[in-house]
């Protein structure tokens, strides 16, 4: 992807440049009796933050609160000190929504240019900024076609281009890598890194933790409307060591193994599986358990035929934080 950039500095008299790029203060949002976001406090200044959570966890609600499409019922959302619901805050933020809707009759270029004009730019400014944004997302030469004929990846690029128009310090991207091919993903990842290096704040949502791991070490995990954890992935994994994981084993003698494992302090539960040689163990401290399990296998000649941690994927790690549900 060409490394084009927009170099001017936004001039925003109403905003406070020392204030956090995005600040949620004890924010709650209900949809009738259903709570969408529950007492969320989040403060972002710069760099990339990944927002991860299962479908229905409240990610989109949180992002819509951040972009001023929804108003919090309790608490306050501000962007550089300006209330997010206030239209002036929209000068400070670029938003790439998850929803895949456009003015389909337009070409990609026309769409982005229209969005630029709706930001109050002159025709000349709008054209220049559109050209720059189109170049940034790698759509040069393809942006004159009608949007209705675009692939999912091209549509994602156009959505991202319009988010870049105002050269915002805060970029909020809802599932931006969804539907993009591996090469396109790498382009996007490179672009996100480049934007982050320009001292911008990027909040990127995804329901796949693995996807976000490639982008950032700073993750906020949402579950049931709450921010369940914020921090580096390593920190979250350490946190997870205190939560049990489930291990499935196929052994020559599962009953003897079960008796041995029950004495281990990390094992919190044992089940004999549905098949004759299967054993399922729930383990509290995974790292401590695996360190000892190797020794037990050799010492007691346990003849392990198969071993898998059913939920040892990042999806499962996420699942623990979500209260037992995986991705």
């Amino acid at each position: 992807m060409p490394n084009a950039s927009i170099t001017h500095e936004p001039r925003l008299p109403e905003s406070n440049s020392a204030a956090p790029a995005l600040l949620f203060e004890q924010v709650s949002k209900w949809y009738g009796p259903v709570i969408g976001v529950n007492q969320v406090t989040l403060e972002l200044h710069r760099g990339i933050t990944g927002l991860v959570g299962a479908n229905g966890a409240g990610k989109t609600t949180l992002l819509r609160l951040a972009t001023g499409q929804l108003q919090p019922d309790i608490g306050q959302v501000t962007i550089r000190g300006v209330e997010a619901w206030n239209w002036r805050a929209k000068r400070l933020v670029g938003y790439c929504p998850e929803s895949d809707v456009f003015y389909e009759e337009m070409s990609g270029f026309q769409f982005v240019e229209s969005m630029a004009l709706l930001c109050g730019m002159t025709r000349r400014q709008a054209r220049e900024r559109t050209e720059a944004a189109i170049e940034q997302v790698g759509m040069v030469g393809r942006s004159d076609r009608k949007i209705r004929g675009y692939s999912k990846g091209m549509r994602q690029r156009i959505k991202l281009a319009q988010a870049l128009l105002q050269d915002p310090k805060l970029l909020i991207l809802d599932e931006p890598l969804s539907g993009i091919d591996p090469i396109g993903r790498q382009d996007f990842v490179d672009l996100f890194f480049a934007l982050a290096e320009q001292d911008r704040c990027l909040l990127i949502s995804s329901h796949e933790l693995e996807e976000l791991e490639k982008l950032t070490n700073h993750i906020a995990i949402m579950a049931r409307g709450r921010i369940a954890a914020v921090g580096s992935i390593a920190k979250i994994r350490d946190l997870l060591d205190q939560h049990p994981i489930t291990i499935r084993m196929e052994l020559a003698d599962p009953r003897r193994t079960a008796a041995l494992l029950l004495g281990h302090p990390a094992v919190v539960g044992i089940d004999l599986g549905p098949s004759q040689n299967e054993l399922i163990a729930r383990v509290a401290n995974a790292r401590g358990f695996f360190a000892d399990f190797g020794r037990l296998v050799i010492e007691y000649d346990l003849q392990v035929q198969h071993l898998e941690t059913i939920d040892d994927s990042t999806q499962a790690i996420l699942g623990y934080l979500l209260g037992g549900r995986s991705g």
Binding site: R11, T67, Q69, R91, P97, C119, G120, Q125, Q166, G225
Partner: protein
């Protein structure tokens, strides 16, 4: 609208607003079902009026007060006949001449009255005007909501009230254009009485369009089904309340449009039998009320739109 510097000194909210008006006008080019229905109704109405104009006469000369009785024209002729009987009494003859001339003149101008009552009041003002306005006015915001593209407007640095106003302003050329064009076509198909109606009723059509457009645009801001709400309003509330005796009908927009039409033709005996019951207000009052309704409904819409969250495509 204040000039708001933001990204660069050249960016302004006013320019953004004008761009939205331009964009929205262009978007309404895309003909949708309601507009096809409106065009179809215009074609059918025009053809019917044209056929009456070409094949018959809008005047009541050939109409019969009783099914098997003589026509109004024949009645007039019969009044001329006894003239010879009154030859010896010049005073009685003079009265007879005056009555005959009055009836003949009334029959000669009855075309306009018939056209007004059956085409302008019953068909155009009560049915076509609200329906055509509804087609465009609900579409301005309704289309954005239905196609879930509202998100692109709501994430632009523009006050929500300005977005609402821009959409209303963008809908007006279409509402006014279609209603004026439709009224011209309908009147043109009506021949002489049609041209007269066009000249006299056009201000009422314009004021009515502005007020109805403001109302239907508001429906689009507050409801997911503005067209349904508009149809219910037009064909239940307006028809029912607008024709009730008493003051309740003053709540309907159509009442003031009709009053304005009556005011324009008060010297032409258009609806003398209805005036006592209908009790229309004066033309000035009608214009004042219609203008006030337009402004107040637009302000209400701006406030409502500013406070409303649009969640059409929201999945938490």
């Amino acid at each position: 609208m204040t000039q708001q510097n933001g990204l660069e000194p050249g960016t302004s909210t006013l320019r953004a607003w004008l761009a939205l008006v331009r964009l929205s006008i262009g978007q309404q080019f895309r003909v949708r079902m309601m507009i096809w229905i409106a065009l179809g109704l215009l074609a059918i109405t025009s053809l019917m009026i044209l056929s009456i104009t070409v094949l018959g006469d809008w005047r009541q000369t050939d109409d019969r007060p009783r099914r098997r009785g003589p026509t109004y024209g024949q009645h007039a002729q019969r009044l001329v006949a006894p003239r010879s009987v009154l030859a010896g009494n010049p005073m009685a003859g003079g009265v007879q001449d005056a009555i005959t001339a009055s009836i003949s003149a009334s029959l000669q101008t009855s075309g306009f009255r018939v056209f007004s009552i059956f085409v302008v009041f019953a068909v155009f003002q009560q049915f076509l005007l609200p329906l055509w306005t509804l087609s465009f006015a609900t579409d301005a915001l309704g289309r954005e909501r239905e196609s879930r593209t509202m998100i692109w407007l709501l994430t632009r640095p523009m006050p929500r009230s300005a977005i609402y106003l821009a959409k209303y302003v963008a809908a007006l050329p279409w509402c006014l254009g279609f209603n004026i064009f439709g009224f011209v076509l309908v009147c043109a198909c009506g021949g002489e009485p049609g041209w007269m109606a066009l000249r006299l009723y056009m201000p009422a059509v314009i004021w009515g369009t502005l007020a109805f457009a403001a109302l239907f645009h508001l429906f689009a801001a507050i409801s997911r089904w503005p067209a349904v709400l508009g149809l219910i309003y037009s064909f239940f509330f307006e028809l029912l309340v607008g024709t009730l005796p008493g003051d309740l009908k003053r709540m309907s927009i159509g009442y003031y449009v009709r009053s304005l039409m009556y005011d324009a033709t008060q010297h032409l005996d258009v609806a003398p039998d209805q005036l006592n019951v209908y009790a229309p207000v004066s033309g000035d009052t009608s214009i004042t009320v219609l203008a006030a309704v337009t402004i107040v409904l637009t302000i209400i819409g701006m406030i409502a739109f500013s406070r409303t969250e649009y969640r059409e495509d929201l999945a938490t």
